[in-house]
Subunit: 367 residues, 2 copies
Amino acid sequence: MALKFELLKTSGKARRGRIHLPHGVVETPTFMPVGTNANVKLMMPRDLEEIGAQIILSNAFHLYLKPGMEIMKIHGGIHNFINWNKPVLTDSGGFQVFSLRKGRKINEDGVWIKSPLDGSKHFITPELSMEIQNTIGSDIVMAFDYCAEPEISYDEAVYALELTTKWAERSLIRIRELSDQAIFGIVQGAFYYDLRERSAKEITSLDFDGFAIGGLSVGEEYDITLKMTEFTAPLLPENKPRYFMGAGSPKLIVDLVYNGVDIFDSVLPTRVARHGQALTWKGKKNIRAAKFKFDKAPIDENCTCYTCRNFSRSYIRHLFDRGEVLGQMLLTIHNLHFMMDLSKKIRESIENDTFENLRGEVLKYYD
Amino acid sequence: MALKFELLKTSGKARRGRIHLPHGVVETPTFMPVGTNANVKLMMPRDLEEIGAQIILSNAFHLYLKPGMEIMKIHGGIHNFINWNKPVLTDSGGFQVFSLRKGRKINEDGVWIKSPLDGSKHFITPELSMEIQNTIGSDIVMAFDYCAEPEISYDEAVYALELTTKWAERSLIRIRELSDQAIFGIVQGAFYYDLRERSAKEITSLDFDGFAIGGLSVGEEYDITLKMTEFTAPLLPENKPRYFMGAGSPKLIVDLVYNGVDIFDSVLPTRVARHGQALTWKGKKNIRAAKFKFDKAPIDENCTCYTCRNFSRSYIRHLFDRGEVLGQMLLTIHNLHFMMDLSKKIRESIENDTFENLRGEVLKYYD
């Protein structure tokens, strides 16, 4: 198999694990930086390596539109194309069924989605998604699912769940025809406990290499996200990795790890960086604030990232003030370094059975 | 003195030199990357070091507006502020007398210039320019001059020339009161041979550490730029560095070096990079062109820059196609590396008396 998972230690429900993949080892828990368009915005691969990224996420549907599969093929997959030789996970396009739902049409076979680039229509099936992810050559393929919107009714949620299970079966069949790439199933079920339970049962009965909790963090209240995770995570097998799709806030991350989640991703740390927001161990800082004008200290005095080793708040504020993209570049490095540092400290604290303290520390500064 | 110049070798009129400055040695001829707003756009200092930048240029007037001198003072100058420990040359604001001439008012004392940021009016005198450049702590200060527009009449050119000489004297007096920073005088005289001759005579009679040819590359025909340089350069003393202000095209650079110029700067290589244009030893390439869609070769197969060592034309084209700034970052690295490589090859060719061949090679691909 293309994936081997070791559960090294638990501390409460929190898990310290290790995922072996074709392009390397991923120590968990860990955050995965997002590179939707075949790049993590403003980050050169060497910057990603320096901050300690172990695995990055890309997106089948976006890569299918651009650069397109013909280009992906001549490069022999995403690793060569983007010059990143560590693991890559690709989302299946299931999230775009949710995020691009304007003009979407769903039937049992698949989904018509409108390209956000040129309005062209594309019919994505589980089989096509697998073919795309196979061409991309990702280390972890995601099953094609139906990620429903938060305002969904019970009946609609049942429909989405049932489609997700059928598509999971078809995804599994197709990817196994194509390759031995690792593939994760995705549990849906919206915000209904019984549907979450049913989806978890159906999806985990299939021979996936890991499982994702999908359909959360899509606009619902924080408490609901958490309750659904608390309920769903224990329904997943212990001996396989657990992935929460779309979690980037430090608060959510420690709450997920507390509930036994291993990996998570989000554009949040890079997106807020481009707007001047720095993530630190003492909470968020808006680097554009007037109080930083004369501040010679680095963003975070204990941080060891390139940005904090070399530049002051005052300088980075100046760059934002003048609209110089270098400011966004430096904050992106810092924020992703913070996420990897947070991941590392979480791993260490599980090893030392001090995760509760670390979680308390994070929750003090992030709400 | 804060500057020592060695003329190591000549080959025809071309000069191989070495400038010793407080923050390091500059081998000449060399191109200087431009960092107007206290950063070379999209370049981290470590990227600048990697491409081999020896000295960068910044701008007194822009830094005076933002971040302002109070911030520059608390950082102890630009080197600490931007985290660059190699030489910095600052332009005096004289070029802004030209480029911001809308709303400008000139009198013998100085110039009223309107801020391009907020329309506020600032009265810049030679003394103020020196005080700013002293606070910035540049390795090379430029005298405050009157850079006139290309359509200037003879009488206006005489006035600009005379003011430039008076301001040069005042610049020299004021900077010597403040520090022993190296300072260059600037020759003006528009496009009149007799005025160029008169300006060169007046400016070189003053005790400057080097001399610049100013007022060219401001919109005039290429032949005029060249003829004026050909005429002016021999009027400058042999034992001091010669700086042509505002030259970034490979063609102009080899033509300037041919005429005995040592250093030059321009935003061109970084600006065109942001628009997708790559500079190579076989001429310019527009990386957005359809023909590069499936092209797995690097931008320049013989180039050793980070971009060419790691990425294909096809990938960089994709990044531009998707509006991903990483594409601009990678091309900026490549173009500045090319400029430093061109500078290095020029130096080697002067040492080996093969500069004429190199110039011919460059002129074959750049016109």
